[in-house]
Symmetry: C2
Subunit: 132 residues, 2 copies
C-alpha cells in the first residue's frame, strides 16, 4: 500500500496523511523457546496456541500482510477496511485480537486508530515453529 | 523422549522398539511466500489460515514438540498417549489434523501407526510468518 495512493488519501479528505510516528514497540522475547528444544509443558502449549489462534484467520493474516507492506509497518483503520472489504467495526475487532496477542500495537490519533506490527512478536512466533 | 526409556519400551512388551525408518517425506515449498512480500490474496490467506489452525491447539503443539524431540522426528502413537495424557483415539484425531495440514506423515507398521514431522513444512510456515 502506497501513501501516495489517491484512493487512500481520499479517506483523509484529500490531504496527505501523516507518516506513521509510533514509537517502536517493546517486546518481551522470553516466550519463544523453539518447539524442537524440548517437549512443551501444558502451560506453554496453551500460551503458544493462543498466539497462533490470533493469526490462524484469513482476515487477520490479510490485515497483517497489509500492515507489513505499509510504511512504518503501520496503517490507519480507515485504510484497512477497503482492502479487506469489511466494515470498520469488523476490522477493528480483528485488529484488537491481534493486539491482544501482542502482534500489533494500537495508537489513537484524533478520529482514527493506527495499528503497527510488532515485528519481534512475529519473529518470535516464527522461531518457535522453526525446526532448525 | 529417549528410546531407552523402560516405560516407553514397556508399550512394546519389553523389547527395544525399532528405530524409525520412515523415508524422508517430500514437501512442496511453493506455499510459502512471506507475509511481508505483498498483501495476501483471499485464497492464499485461507490456505495459510488452515495450516496455522492445525497447530493452533495446545495438544497438537505438544505432540509436535514430542515428535521433534524424538529420534528421526518420529514416534509411534503408543508412545504419544502417555506424555499428553489422552486416549489413543484422541491422539490419533490430533495427529490426523496435523497430517491433513502436511505437517506430519503417517506410516502403518503392524499394530501401530508411526508419525514423523515434515520439517520443511514447519520451516515453510515459519518463513511465511517471519517479517525479515
Amino acid at each position: 500500500m502506497s501513501f501516495d495512493d489517491p484512493c487512500i488519501m481520499g479517506h483523509h479528505g484529500g490531504v496527505p496523511k501523516p507518516l506513521p510516528l509510533l514509537d517502536p514497540p517493546s517486546y518481551d522475547g522470553s516466550c519463544c523457546t523453539p518447539l524442537v528444544a524440548a517437549p512443551l509443558t501444558t502451560e506453554r502449549a496453551e500460551a503458544l496456541a493462543g498466539r497462533l489462534k490470533a493469526i490462524a484467520d484469513p482476515t487477520r493474516l490479510r490485515l497483517l500482510s497489509i500492515l507489513l507492506s505499509s510504511e512504518g509497518l503501520a496503517a490507519c483503520t480507515c485504510d484497512l477496511t477497503g482492502p479487506v472489504g469489511l466494515s470498520q467495526p469488523t476490522v477493528t475487532h480483528h485488529l484488537q485480537k491481534l493486539a491482544a496477542a501482542g502482534l500489533v500495537v494500537a495508537e489513537r490519533r484524533g478520529t482514527w486508530t493506527w495499528y503497527q506490527v510488532v515485528p519481534e512478536a512475529l519473529t518470535g512466533l516464527a522461531s518457535v515453529i522453526s525446526p532448525t
